[in-house]
Symmetry: none
Subunit: 426 residues, 2 copies
C-alpha cells in the first residue's frame, strides 16, 4: 500500500457514452470509498475501444494508485477490459481452471452450454488473483502489476459489482491497509435562504481544512456539507459536532434539518409532538403537497387528507371558497388562499389547514400576476388565517415552481409550528 | 471545427466524488452528443480542487477537441471551473458588464442583494463569449482558447444546464459544423408488460444493426429504444419508422406512447379529444395521481381536481363512501375503490372518476391484505363503476408502490378510453 492512497474509478462501456444508462456504479463506488476513507480524486468513463481504454489506463496509472474498473468483463468481443489491462502492463493472459469450472457450473444451473466466449471470461493476467463473482459468470481480478499500482475489476452489472465489492474488495482493502480511518459527512439543510447569502454568513467556515464545509444548492434548498477525516467514525463525529452547532446557530430558522430529514419529515415530527393534524388544499400543485406529506411512513397520524381544487368550481363546492372572492380577487390571491386553507381545516376537521394557489405556467401569467406568483394560506387551531405571497420568478419551469411551492408551504407551517413551540415553552 | 470532432464531458464537483449525487448531467450530455452525431469518447469527473481540475483540463485538451464542463460555476470560493480554465490557457479574467447586469436583475426579482460572490460569476476569460443562463445567475462560456480546442461551460444544476445546452450550445455546434450526421433514437413506451416478456415478443429485432433495438426497464414501465445512424435526421427517421410500426403492432394495447409521452399526456390527449373531464380520489397515493395529471401544461381543460382521502373520515365526508362499506370491506377493497371513484365523479361533476386505495407500506400489511395490494376504481359517463385489483409485491418500497399505483390508475383509464374510442368509430 502506498503512503498516500488515491483511487480512480474507470467505468468502461459505450452505453455510458451514448447516455443509454446512468452511471450509478460510479456513485456507489464513490460512496464506498468515502466510507473507507480512501481519497478518490478522479473518475473516467471510456467506451469499449482498445486504444482509448489503454489511454485511460495510462492516464489513471500516472495519477492514481488504486484503479477500480467496472464493465467490459462480459463474454462478447466488445468486452475488452481485462485483456487491455494485461496488455498495458505487458502481462500474458492465463486461463484459470477454477474460473472455468465456476463459469461452467453457473451456466449449467441456467441450462446453458459453455461456449468459447464464456471461456474467455476465465482469462486473467499472469500474477493476478481472481476476485470471485457470487452471482454472475464474470469474475474480477485483483492485481498489482507494478509496485504502487493496484487494480480491481468488476462487471458493469450493478448487483454483481456491489456483491463483489462488499464480499471481497472491502476486506482486501482493509487488510492491506488502504482504508486508513474514515471520511464522515453530515449535511445541514436550509430553506428560505439563497446559496450566496448563506455562504457569506458562514464564510469563516468555508476555508476550514478538517472538517471541511461546502455549500450546495438544490431545488430551492441550500445545503452545507461538513466532512471530517479521522481514524474512527466517532472521532469524525466529534470533530463535526462543534462546527455543526455553530452553523445551525448561524442558520437560525432557515436551518430545518440534517442528512435524511426532509421538510415533510420535520413538519411531521413537529405535528406529532403536538398531537396536531393538518389538511391540504391545493390548486397549482394539485396533489404535490399531499404526496410530500405522505412520502413519510406513518404520516396518517397527522395528515388527514385534502382537496385538489384545480378548477374554480371545486374551490367553491369542495372548500367553500366564496364565488365573490374568486370574482373580486381571482383564484391566485391572498384572499382565495386564506379561504382555501380555512375550507380544508373545516371540511377535514384538522387543527391546521394549509393551502397553495399560484401560477405554475407555462401559460396563465399576466403582468399583474406573473408565472411564479404563489400564495400559501395557513389556518390554525386558534382560528387565525393568514397568507404569504411568494414570487419564484417567471423564468422558472412549471415542475420547479410546483415542487418549490409545495416545499414552501411545508416551510410556512414549519416556522409557525416552531413559533408555537417556543411560545408554549416556559 | 476540426476534421474529427471528439467531445469530452468534464463534470466538476467534489459531491460527485463523494457519491452524494448521481451524475445525471453526464448522461444528458452523452445522449445529446449522440443525437448530434458528435463522437464522445471520454468523460472525466474531478473535484473542486484547482490542481486536479487543471490536470483534468490538460489531459482532456490533449485527447479531445470539444471540452464540455458542468459544475463549479457557482458564487462560492470552491467554484473554480472558469478561473482554472482561464489559468490553464494563460488568459486573464475579464468582468462582463452584461453578465453583472443580468445577475443583478435576477437577484432583484427574488428580492436578494448583489454580493461580491455573485459578482465573481460575471468573470470570464478574455476572448471568451458568454453562454447565457436563462434561469439561474451563473452564465457559461464558449471559448476557443487555442486552435483545435473549443470549451463550453455549464452550471451543475441540471435544469439550468439543460436549458443552456438546448438554447445556445446546440445551435452553436450545428452552425460551426460540429454535428455531422446524426444518431436519431425513438423510445417506445409500454405499460402492463414485463421486460422479459416484451423482449421475447420482439426478439427478432434485438439483433438488428441499424437501426438497433434495445429494451430498458424503468419503474413499472418497459421501453424499447430504436436508434439509427444516418447522414440526416430525415434518413434516420425513415430507417426507424418501419421498425417502429412493427414493434407497436407487437406491443398491442401495452404500447402507450413514444419519446416524451407519459401516461398522463396520453390520457390527457384522449380526454381532450373526447371533450371529457376527470376527477381523482386518492388514498395511499394522496395527491400523486393529481400531481401526475397536472404535470401536463393545460391539464385544467380535463382535470377538475379531486380529493386526497387519507383518513377514513375524509372518505366518508368528502367522497360519500358509506361507513358500512368501510366497516364491512375495509378501506382497501374493491367496494371502497368504487365508491371513491363514484364520489369523486359526483362531487366534482366530471365525466370520469378515478380512485386509488391500497397498502403502500412499510406498515399496515396483513396476510390477507399484504403491502402492494392496490385497488383502482373507475366511474364512467355511462354510470358504470368498476374496480381492478393489483398486487405489486410486498417486497417493494413505499415510493415504488405509490408511483406505480398512480401510473396504473392512469393506465386503467387509458385502456378504457381506447375501448370507448374504438367503439365509437364507425
Amino acid at each position: 500500500m502506498p503512503t498516500t492512497p488515491c483511487a480512480e474509478a474507470i467505468c468502461v462501456g459505450t452505453e455510458l457514452l451514448l447516455g443509454d444508462i446512468l452511471n450509478s456504479n460510479a456513485q456507489f463506488l464513490a460512496r464506498q470509498l468515502a466510507e473507507l476513507g480512501i481519497p478518490h480524486f478522479f473518475q473516467t468513463v471510456v467506451g469499449d475501444n482498445r486504444d482509448r481504454l489503454r489511454e485511460a489506463i495510462s492516464t489513471a496509472a500516472a495519477r492514481s494508485n488504486l484503479l477500480i474498473f467496472t464493465g467490459g468483463l462480459g463474454p462478447t468481443p466488445d468486452d475488452l477490459t481485462v485483456e487491455t489491462i494485461a496488455a498495458a502492463f505487458n502481462a500474458p493472459l492465463i486461463e484459470q481452471p477454477d474460473a472455468v469450472a465456476d463459469i461452467e457450473r453457473k451456466l449449467a444451473q441456467r441450462g446453458r452450454p459453455m461456449t468459447a466466449s464464456n471461456r474467455k471470461q476465465a482469462l486473467i493476467p499472469q500474477g493476478a488473483t481472481l476476485l470471485p463473482n457470487p452471482i454472475g459468470t464474470a469474475p474480477g481480478i485483483i492485481w498489482e502489476p507494478r509496485p504502487g499500482v493496484t487494480i480491481l475489476t468488476f462487471p458493469g452489472v450493478p448487483s454483481e459489482m456491489k456483491a463483489m465489492w462488499r464480499e471481497t474488495a472491502v476486506p482486501y482493502l482493509r487488510d492491506r491497509g488502504w482504508s486508513q480511518g474514515t471520511i464522515y459527512s453530515r449535511t445541514l439543510r436550509f430553506w428560505g435562504i439563497g446559496e450566496s447569502t448563506l455562504a457569506e454568513k458562514v464564510a469563516a467556515f468555508l476555508d476550514h481544512q478538517n472538517p471541511t464545509v461546502a455549500p450546495y444548492a438544490g431545488r430551492g434548498e441550500v445545503k452545507l456539507r461538513i466532512s471530517a477525516r479521522a481514524a474512527t467514525e466517532a472521532d469524525a463525529i466529534a470533530a463535526i459536532e462543534p462546527v455543526e452547532r455553530q452553523l445551525r446557530h448561524l442558520g437560525g430558522r432557515d436551518y430545518y434539518g440534517c442528512d435524511r430529514d426532509t421538510l415533510a419529515t420535520v413538519v411531521g415530527k413537529l405535528l406529532s409532538d403536538r398531537r396536531e393534524t393538518v389538511a391540504a388544499a391545493e390548486s397549482c400543485t394539485a396533489g404535490g403537497l399531499g404526496a410530500m406529506f405522505t412520502e413519510v411512513p406513518g404520516s396518517s397520524r397527522y395528515f388527514l387528507g385534502g382537496v385538489m381544487s384545480y378548477s374554480n368550481e371545486s374551490k367553491v363546492t369542495l372548500l367553500g371558497v366564496l364565488p365573490e372572492t374568486l370574482e373580486k380577487f381571482g383564484a391566485v390571491s391572498a384572499e382565495t388562499a386564506c379561504e382555501m386553507a380555512q375550507g380544508a381545516r373545516d371540511r377535514l376537521g384538522s387543527d391546521w389547514g394549509l393551502s397553495i394557489t399560484g401560477i405554475a405556467g407555462p401559460g396563465g401569467g399576466t403582468a399583474d400576476k406573473p408565472i411564479g406568483l404563489v400564495y400559501v394560506g395557513l389556518a390554525g387551531p386558534d382560528g387565525r388565517v393568514e397568507s404569504q405571497q411568494f414570487r419564484f420568478g417567471s423564468q422558472r419551469e412549471r415542475d420547479w415552481i410546483r415542487a418549490v411551492s409545495a416545499c414552501t408551504a411545508l416551510d410556512v407551517l414549519r416556522r409557525r409550528l416552531l413559533d408555537e413551540r417556543d411560545r408554549d415553552r416556559p
